[in-house]
Each structure stands twice: as C-alpha cells, then as structure tokens.
C-alpha cells in the first residue's frame, strides 16, 4: 500500500516535465549543498572540540535542531509535504500505514537537520576526547532524538493544520505563535537579559529533556538513563502524533471553513465593502472590475489573510528587538530605517500570495481572462494594482503600530518609505509577472501552508529578491557614500524610472508568453496533486 501511494505520487509528479525536474535538481543541489557545507563545518568542529565545549554545544545544538525542525516550517508558512487525506480516505487503508507514510514525509520538512545531525555524529566519532569510534553506542540516543523530532513534527503539523482550517482562528493563532517565538528576543533586547540566562541554561542542560539526555550520554553519562528518557519522550511524541493524525482523519475541514456563522460577504455600506469599491472611483472598467475582484477574492482567501497578518506582525517582531536594544541600537541603521525595513519585509512576504504567482488562486478560472473581451495586459495591471493597495494598507498598519510602539520616525521618513515601497514593488511586480506565466502553480485558497510559487521557482526567488531590491539599496549606498540627501533622491528617481521601464517591458513580455503558452498555463493551473500534497 505504501508503495502504491508513493508510486502514484511519483507518477503525478512526472507531469512537471523534464525541464522542471532539471530545475528542481539544480535548486535542490544548491540548497542541500549549502546544508552539507554546514554539516561538514559542524562535523569539523565536533571532531576537534574539547570536552568542555562539547558539554555545552551538543545539547545546545540538539535543542536548536529541535527548534528548527518544529518551528521553521511554521514560520516559513510552508509545512512541507503531507498526505492528502481527502483523496486517501475512501480506500481501505489501515490508519497505521498512512501514519507511517506521514512520518516519513516529515523528513521533507527538515532534511537539512538530518544532514546537520549526521555531520555532527560523524565529527563526534572522530573526536579523540570521546574515544573515537568507541563512542558509537553513546551516540545512539541521538538517533532516538531524530525519531522523537519526526513524531513531534507530525503531531504539530496535524494539530496546526486542523486549527488553521478554522475561519478567523488561524490569524489569531499565527499572531500568538509569533509573539511566543519572538518574546525571548524582545525580553533580551529590552534589558531583561541582565538578570542572566539561568532559565535557558536549565532548558539546555536539564537531564530529563531529550536534547540534554542525548548530550549527557554522548559525554559519558548514563546511557541507560538517556535511552529511558528519550524513549519516554519519543513514546509521548508518538502518542501525540498518532492521536493528532487520527483526529485529522475524522476532521471535516469543509465544515470548519463553512460560513454558517454568518454571511461571507460583507453587507453593503460596510467599511470593507467601501474599500472594495474604491478602485471603481479611481479607474475605469475593465481595470476597476479586475482590481475589485482581486481585493474581494484575496481578502477572503485564508492563505492570503494569514500572510497579510504575518506581514505587519512578524516584521515588527523580528526587527523590534534591534531598536529596543539600548542607546547604541537606537541610533543604528536599522532603527533609522525601521519603517522601510519592516515594510520591505512585508512586501517580500506578500509576494508569495500575489505577484510571484498571480494566477495561482484563480486556478482553472484563469480561462475567464482568456475568454473575456479585454486585453490580457489589463489583467496583469489589475492584479498588480490590487497588490499595491494591499501593500500600502500594510504600510498604513505598520505606521500605526510603530506609532503605538513609539518608534521614532519623521514625516520625511514616511515619505521615503512610501517611495521605496512603490519603487521596489515595480521591480518585484515586473519579475513576478514573468514568473506568473513561466512558473504557474495552482494554489488551494484554504490550505494555509502551501508555498506560493512552484518549487523550482522558489529557489530562483532568492536571486530575484536581491535583484529587485538592488536599485533602492544602491540609492541608500549613494546617500551613505556622499552623505547627501539630494544624491539619494536623484538615485531613487533613476531607480523609479528604471523600474517603470522594466515593468512595462515585463508586462509586454508576460502578455506575449501568455499568448504562446496559454494552454500549458491553463493545464498547470488546473492540475491536481497526487496523494501527497506538497508544501
């Protein structure tokens, strides 16, 4: 049965084509090559570190591995591949076997951590302080630690997937997750650190915790006790993972997302309805109709709403500690450009649900734009304008938040932020329009954990972001180098002109590509996934 599921998935994936497979292989090689390098570096350190360093760093590293494994998939809003239970539940498959496949798939969310752990173990086996290969049995608990992480990640994924399916709840949940994750940084930055890191020492070294138990055993502590502790934690994680998986099997996501609590559409005269109608006062049809449709659709798309909330909350949470770190930090570059930095972050985050794959949520309905009697360039313009409205709404919310947090900024900085957001957006939308027709991917609006662009394109995004931000970055560099606001304004103006030219060229190119690849794009956007839903 497991073989049948995996075969069905492989056969489903072959539709991506040879070009896609080559691209995926290249980007995969770059990503995992990077992590192999990290693993190698850790291995080198582990092979030559003295006992005192190892005593601190083995449990600390394992704790970091655990945190990465459990939280990075959540923070990146892409929880990796998982079984699409809606497709598999109709078959008489034993739940235990499905759970086993689900556990194996958890490797996909943090394969890099497996590499890191393997690198670390290889290094420790070469360390004379631990006795070389003779230390192998003492490192066995680390393997149980890996299993513990797999099971815990499975339970966390199932739980979050279920919770995030509930309307409204998902935005609140994401907000509290972010606060929980960044609170320690804020506490440290705001001076709480002066009371010491005692509590964190306890978390790292408390022997009843899995990373500490594995670390103590590696350093010559009781192997039996470590195995007992880790087995206990692993059994608990297995119970958690299995029970959450079972609950997901019985969970009716359609019912959770239904609008029985009240009408989905806002009544006429409400503030949101007035916002949706705003483009009709500024533009003519069909452009206004497209912008209005985008505003309504995106605002009701769970995936978009979650990313929108992350856009103004996560950016502040990440960068706020940098401006709360005492007098020195208050005059740092980050503090001086706080608003620009958090807005740029929001802009990049919104990209995955807007400009990088602008037809993703339309899915097969994209054919309406092909069948409607208006130039397709209007569709790109409409979608880009909708993105601009949302990003400037983010800026407005961020301005309000920074005012509440009493982050010091002047009106000139606000004007600068508005200009920078507009200019960067021009470049990003230009690249995004091309990527939308080159690498389209159908997105499920209800799935909050699905990545925006196709997997092969996501790696390319890491190159495109710096490219898109480069003109503005160079303008800042010019201001710093010449210490002149005039030079900065001139450089920014050149960036804006360059962005506008690039944008129009990109729209023309995207329209041309759309004409040539119309059928392929429609097929890509209508395509369903196999039994495994990719993240």
């Amino acid at each position: 049965m497991i073989a049948a599921i995996l075969r069905a998935q492989i056969l489903s994936m072959r539709l991506a084509g040879r070009r896609g497979a080559v691209f995926s292989a290249i980007t995969g090689a770059i990503w995992y090559g990077f992590w192999c390098f990290i693993a190698f570096t850790i291995g080198l350190f582990a092979a030559h570190a003295d006992a005192a360093a190892l005593r601190l760093w083995i449990p600390t590293s394992l704790l970091l591995v655990c945190l990465y494994w459990q939280f990075v998939p959540i923070l990146s809003a892409s929880m990796g591949s998982g079984l699409d239970l809606r497709k598999l539940l109709i078959y008489p498959a034993p739940h235990g076997r499905l759970f086993f496949v689900e556990i194996l798939l958890r490797l996909t969310t943090a394969l890099e951590m497996v590499l890191v752990v393997a690198g670390g173990i290889a290094g420790l086996l070469r360390n004379p302080a631990l006795g070389g290969l003779a230390a192998a049995p003492r490192l066995a608990p680390i393997l149980i630690f890996v299993l513990f992480n797999l099971l815990l990640a499975s339970g966390t994924r199932s739980l979050l997937e279920r919770l995030l399916s509930h309307r409204r709840l998902r935005e609140v949940l994401i907000f509290f997750l972010l606060i929980a994750l960044t609170a320690p940084r804020i506490l440290f930055a705001s001076g709480f650190a002066s009371v010491g890191v005692g509590p964190f020492d306890g978390i790292i070294h408390f022997p009843a915790l899995p990373w500490a138990a594995a670390g103590h055993a590696a350093m010559g502590g009781s192997l039996l006790r470590a195995i007992a502790v880790l087995t206990g934690w692993t059994l608990a994680a297995a119970w958690f993972g299995r029970s959450q998986f079972e609950r997901n099997l019985r969970f009716d996501s359609t019912a959770a997302q239904s609008s029985t609590a009240g009408p989905e559409a806002a009544p006429r005269g409400s503030w949101s309805e007035r916002l949706y109608r705003l483009p009709s006062h500024l533009f003519r049809d069909p452009l206004a109709a497209i912008v209005e449709k985008e505003l309504r659709s995106l605002a009701r798309t769970p995936r978009f709403r979650m990313v929108f909330v992350m856009g103004f909350s996560f950016g502040v949470m990440v960068w706020l500690p940098a401006v709360m770190g005492g007098q020195a930090a208050r005059h740092s570059t980050i503090e001086q450009n706080f608003l620009v930095v958090v807005c740029a972050y929001a802009m990049t985050l919104l990209g995955q649900v807007t400009y990088w794959n602008c037809f993703g949520f339309d899915r097969s309905a994209v054919q309406f734009y092909f069948a409607a009697p208006q130039p397709i360039s209007q569709t790109f313009l409409g979608k880009n304008l909708a993105y601009l409205i949302f990003i400037y709404l983010e800026v407005l919310i961020l301005v309000f938040i920074t005012m509440l947090l009493r982050v010091d900024w002047r009106p000139a900085q606000l004007a600068e932020t508005l200009a920078v957001v507009g200019i960067c957006s021009l470049y990003m939308m230009a690249f995004g329009n091309i990527s939308s027709v080159r690498y389209p991917r159908a997105l499920t609006p209800e799935r909050v954990s699905q990545g925006g662009a196709s997997s092969r394109f996501q790696a390319l995004v890491f190159i495109l972001y710096p490219l898109a931000l480069a003109p503005v970055f160079l303008s800042y560099l010019a201001r710093y180098a010449f210490d002149s606001q005039t030079v900065f304004v001139v450089a920014l103006t050149f960036s804006a002109v360059g962005g506008a030219v690039l944008y129009w060229q990109a729209v023309e190119s995207a329209v041309k590509t759309l004409g040539e690849r119309r059928e392929q794009i429609l097929a890509d956007l209508s395509q369903g996934e196999g039994p495994v839903a990719t993240g």
Binding site: S258, S259, P263, E264, A265, S280, D285, P286, A288, A289, I290, E292, K293, R296, S297, L298, R300, T301, F361, D362, R363, S364, A365, Q367, F368, F370, A371, A372, P373, Q374, P375, P445, R518, E519, L522, S526
Partner: protein
C-alpha cells in the same frame, strides 16, 4: 444573406503526435440550436476551446458571426457567451459579485451589471447571493456559469456540458432559457453526453470522432427508420459490441 454563426474550415489541432482535431469543417447557421456530439476524447472540448480562443489552432480558419479569428478576437469575445466544461468561476466571490464582475468585463455599466446580476440570480433561483461560490454545489455552479454567459446578452452561446450535475428542475429552467434565446435569434452550440437532451433541443447535430466530423445534418437526415439519436450515435461510431462477461465479475 447573413454569414453563419460559426464557419470552420480545415481546423487542425495536435497535442504531440495525437491529433485532437483533424481537419474539421463545420457550419452552424444563425438562430439554430446545434448539437455537437462525440465520444469521450473525440475532440469536442478542444473544438470549443479553439472557438473561444482558449487554445490556438495549428491550422484552418475560424469565423464567428462573420468575424475572423484571431484578427477580431476581442470583438468576437464580446458577442459570445461561454459555459466551458471546466469551471471559470472565481470561488471567493459571491454569485452576485461574480456576475457583476463578468458584466463589467463585458463592458456593461456598473449599475446595469448589478441590476442584471440580481435579475439573473432571481431567474436561476440562486437567491442566496451572499454565499461565496466556493460553497456552491456543482449544480449551483453550473447555474452561475449559465447566468454569466447570459449577462451581456450574447448572440452566440458556446456550451460544453452545461447541464452536467444540474438537478431536473434546474436543467429544465436552463433549457427553457436557451430555447427562448434561440427563438429571439441567438445561436446555441451545445455539447452533451445526454443524447435525449440533444434530441429534444437541437435542430441540427454533428458527430465528431477521433478529431473528424463523421456525420452531420438535421435529426431527420441522420435517422434511418425509427432510430433514436442514441442508435444513430452508436451506428455512426461503429461502436456496437456484445457485452463480454468477466469471469470474476
């Protein structure tokens, strides 16, 4: 003499080495209710996709309402109403919002689009206009698609399985609307696997198989003796075969 609603000559379209449409010639007179039939994978949907501009033809010529594809593509699109096999509905809009959007995309004034949307929702018994389309049943989705095809009062309807998944009452309502449109001078080009429906509605039919037209004419011309359309269909396709029993079934 007015030009035909659809005039297709030597239409060809291949996917790799497979010819989906292989030299189709077709003429559909204005004001007719035309049935386009064929087994699964015969090339019906591909033909409709070419007629609506969703897929380019490899060769051949297409004229719609006297206008040439692709030269007059935008003008043609303004004058046709489309109900495709796949959904072209935006799931996160309500029925009313979607219809207003479609109306505006076809050049209607906003207030006109809104009024027509409300009237069509009423006509097609989709009164709960504040529910988003993603929560509609399959039949309701087809009704909205039908309403969207009607909102700009087109001259030609291109419909791919429009009654699929629609309950008997809804299907009856949709058929009545289409017949009324034909009486008023519109043309309907319809594909359906339900031959009884085609038999009752259409005045002319064409049967496509392996990408080529194998029979066309009025129902009377195609029938021999007391044949039903189903008999004609099976005979023309040469698809009559004895049921073979499987030992294990």
């Amino acid at each position: 003499m007015s030009s035909p609603a659809i005039l297709v000559r030597g239409l060809k379209k291949s996917y790799g080495s497979v010819a989906a449409v292989d030299g189709v010639d077709l003429e559909v007179a204005r004001g007719s209710f035309f049935g386009f039939l064929g087994p699964n994978g015969a090339g019906k949907s591909t033909t409709i996709r070419i007629l609506t501009g969703l897929a380019p033809a490899d060769s051949g010529s297409v004229e719609i309402l006297g206008l040439r594809f692709p030269d007059d593509e935008l003008e043609i699109k303004k004058r046709i109403g489309l109900v495709p096999d796949e959904s072209l509905l935006f799931d996160r809009l309500t029925g009313a919002e979607f219809l207003e959007f479609v109306g505006r995309m076809y050049g209607l004034e906003r207030s006109t689009a809104r009024d027509r949307a409300a009237a069509l929702l009423d006509l097609l018994e989709l009164a709960n206009g504040r529910k988003i389309i993603g929560e509609y049943s399959k039949g309701m989705r087809k009704r909205v698609a039908m309403a969207a095809a009607l909102i700009h009062h087109p001259e030609l309807f291109l419909m791919d399985e429009p009654f699929e998944g629609v309950d008997a009452v809804g299907a009856r309502l949709m058929k009545d609307i289409l017949l009324d449109q034909v009486r008023r001078g519109a043309t309907v080009f319809l594909t359906s696997h339900v031959l009884e429906v085609v038999e009752r509605l259409c005045d002319r039919v064409a049967i496509i198989n392996h990408g080529a037209i194998v029979a066309s004419g009025t129902l009377g011309e195609l029938r021999s003796g007391g044949e039903s359309l189903e008999d004609v269909f099976v005979r023309v396709l040469g698809a009559e075969r004895q049921l073979e029993r499987l030992d294990w079934l």
